[in-house]
Amino acid sequence: MRDFLRLLARNQLALAGLIVLSAVVLLALVTPLLPLQAPNVTNTGDRFLPPFTEGHLLGTDHLGRDLFSRLMYGTRLSLAVGFAAAVIAAVLGAAIGILAGYYGGRTDNVIMRGVDMLMAFPYILLALAIVAALGPGLLNALVAVAAVNIPFFARNIRGITVGIAHKEFVDAARLSGMGDMRIMLGEVLPNVIPVIVIAMSTTVGWMILETAGLSFLGLGSQPPVADLGSMLGEARSALITNPHTSVVPGVMILIIVMAINLLGDGIRDALDPRLRSGALTRPMAATTVRRDGPVPEAREGALLDIRELQTQFHVKKRVYRAVGGVDLEVKPGECLGLIGESGSGKSVTALSVMGLVASPPGVITGGRVDYKGTDLIGARYEQLRTLRGREIAYIFQDPLATLHPLYKVGDQLIEAMTAHGRAPKEGARQKAIELLKSVRIPNAEKRIDSYPHEMSGGMRQRAGIAMALANDPEVIIADEPTTALDVTVQAQILSLLDDLRRSRGLAIIFITHDFGVVAQLCDRVAVMYAGRIVEEGPTAEVLATPAHPYTKRLIACVPELGEGRRKLAAIPGLPPPVDDLPPGCAFAPRCAKATPACTEPPIELMPFAGTRAVRCIHPENDAAAREAAE
């Protein structure tokens, strides 16, 4: 709630709307207590007095009634009717929407087609018809305005409900013995209330206008009772001669509706989860770079060299050190595995290479990514763009999310090639077919015209790999490319990647959480924990004699096929949050070997057994590894 108010207050227009509306509502509430003249007492002798006449602050109307008093009472009535109509429409509309969305199928069809029919009439015509059937009167106008707005709520709420009704927590509620009615009220309704509030806040103003419209036509409030619409209607004939009689209620309508709409927009922005998650903050084309320290030198012999890379997320006052100084290098034709649990920073490391971390909130705060002598971190956007996909390409976890759903796979491949101006348009299609063949998509000539949704998960990932290969890159960064796939398909994709790197000399950085995959595919492996590399070395050695206690215990957690039924080892506790890292070793709180020295910073990545490195002062298998090295 406090968050909501803070978000709302940040929007100054909405805040202004809130203040104005509160003032109007407050005045309307206390109107009967104010020392006003009776609003309905006529005094034809004082008709059409101008504003600021003594005793009549805003003048009088055609029957000599005090305009200020009528305005206050009229505002009170208009607000009451508008809000009442909104509440009625929201309650009925939400009820209809939830019923239709929850039951689905035929119930949904019948209800929603009925709602569609209501919507097919122009709203004013429908309102007029309802009032004509019920007879004029403020109450009937209210019914008409509410009825006209029910479809809007019903459709909105139904859409949201359909999504919620298929959520797992609804199934869980069913299994807890809750009936349909209970589920709709107890599980679904709390989740749609924000949507109802948003819809109400954006329609109240509209409903006040509609009520005023009906009253203006003489179908709403009946004389002598005033509401804003009927005041306007009565003043119509004197519009030219005595404009103040129509200006006064007109300005009030303007103020109310403007205030409500500004506030409504603010409420929507503050409540809508899509907007809150940052849909409105457009990330920049490349990650912001703010390096304070000196830029480290590149090492010899590496194709892609990541040195002391630091990437942080700045969210409000918090700083999340997602990547806290990572060193990695990969040579041509080499496959480097980057392994770690969720939140260890492995994906952010990969995305930082090409400046693909969303900014805001991501900031690269230090280090160097050297590719063939160019520092990519400091590179200009134009330069990065020519390298993206052409020299360094990515394969992501979910190919359904990375392929555009509305374009054919072939067209997307061709676009990837022509974007870098490497392939002439004519030959592009032929080249795309060859690419699809090279990733072993059967029937490539036909498949090139498929849409992503027409392909199976394995085929889509192949298309994703084909896209990464389109410009003959030197380096491929694969971020959990097989995690979403079935094992039989995973095996095919892994052997495909292995063939490709051997035949094309590709360097691959393979990010995963699966030791089995790393063992089969990667020459070297780096283990990440809480934003840092804790161990690095040739895959076989690291897996056989892990040096860091974290690596050792993580490997022990993974059940291996063929070992039968057993109790698994577990690591107690959770990784530390990266906005609150402990000093010294981040694993120390979970480590059985931790000593006081482990909590004293800094613990560096130290060479270990020749070709390896470990960030630990009490490494495992110390003697055994030394022996093996000698």
């Binding site: 013995g177 995973q490 095996a491 052997s495 957690c557 063929g562 070992e563 039968g564």
Partner: protein, 320 residues
């Protein structure tokens, strides 16, 4: 030995949506007639790839989906109507995604109280006592009860999901990929907790997963599902070590194992059969290196393989 669960010829087909008028255009066979028995206190693992019908099967077992035909018997009592409330006291479900199985707008206490209130009609005091008891059993602190689901990590949320299933006092739990959304270090915590709870409360588990190694580690017996049918059923320690059905062999060979060189165990680019137009005979024949004419025409039943394993194959591998 008492049976916890018996399925007889349980089947589920989904009608394909037709035009505005007229009936459905056809049917998708999600689960072909399947018979299975689960003994009291046993863990039956169910493995299969996406689309093999394992989740549909699980949802039928707890009454979330009505079966097209066939019968479910729980602890000797037949359950004819798909009514989760009737099922709920005997059999419960632990969901794959721990966070989305908890209503974001309810406190953990409200979530935990629902089964106690609606399935067992307990009073407020009784509920509080029962909840503390269960929370102690799953190693959760009671201060968590007043918090909302988004404040929990995946592992904690999954423990809450397990606690909710236990609260219903069901003695059979369907675990639908309970650890696949969790990190390995947390996965082991949850799996060990499940093993402890099983001995403590005498539970029976149906453990559904796509991860062969996890299933092998926790199960007594394993059923391999392919395309809506059980193709192999046998003791966990033998089924992947000495598979009989070629599909089981393919699965076992595909799993990445440390120390085994990388090979694609299958010819390139094979695709799953089309569920709307299923192949005749054995559903696996198009991918199978041992397929014969008979396989293309007649669907094999489960045959006894002599070592406690059953496989639906005319030409099984690894037989003496």
């Amino acid at each position: 030995m008492t049976l916890a669960l018996r399925l007889t010829e349980l089947e589920k087909t989904f009608p394909l949506k037709g035009g505005l008028f007229g009936g459905p255009r056809g049917h998708v066979h999600a689960v072909n007639p399947t018979s299975l028995e689960v003994r009291q206190g046993e863990t039956l693992g169910i493995v299969g790839e996406s689309g093999c019908g394992k989740s549909t099967l699980a949802r039928m077992l707890v009454g979330l989906l009505p079966p097209t035909s066939g019968a479910i018997e729980i602890e000797g009592e037949p359950l004819s109507r798909a009514d989760p409330a009737a099922f709920g006291r005997k059999i419960q479900y632990v969901f794959q995604d721990p966070i989305s199985s908890l209503n974001p707008r309810k406190t953990i206490r409200q979530i935990m109280e629902a089964p106690l209130k609606h399935l067992h009609k307990m009073g407020a005091e009784q509920r509080a006592a029962r909840i503390s008891e269960i929370f102690a059993a799953v190693n959760l602190r009671e201060e968590f009860l007043e918090r909302y689901p988004h404040e929990f990590s995946g592992g904690q949320a999954q423990r809450i999901g397990i606690a909710r299933a236990l609260a219903a006092q069901a003695r059979i739990l369907i675990l639908d990929e309970p650890v696949s959304a969790l990190d390995v270090s947390v996965q082991a915590q949850v799996l060990n907790l499940l093993a402890d709870l099983k001995t403590e409360f005498g539970l029976t588990y149906l453990f559904i997963s796509h991860d062969l190694a996890v299933v092998e580690a926790v199960s007594d017996r394993v059923a391999v599902l392919y395309f809506g049918s059980v193709v192999e059923l046998g003791p966990a320690e033998r089924i992947f070590a000495r598979p009989h059905h070629p599909y089981t062999k393919l699965l076992a060979d595909s799993a990445p194992v440390v120390g085994r060189p990388l090979t694609a165990p299958e010819a390139k680019g094979t695709e799953l059969p089309n569920p709307i137009d299923p192949p005749s005979g054995c559903a696996f024949h198009a991918r199978c290196p041992r397929a014969s004419e008979k396989c293309r025409q007649v669907t094999p039943e489960l045959f006894d393989m002599g070592d406690g394993t059953q496989a639906a194959c005319y030409h099984p591998v690894n037989t003496e």
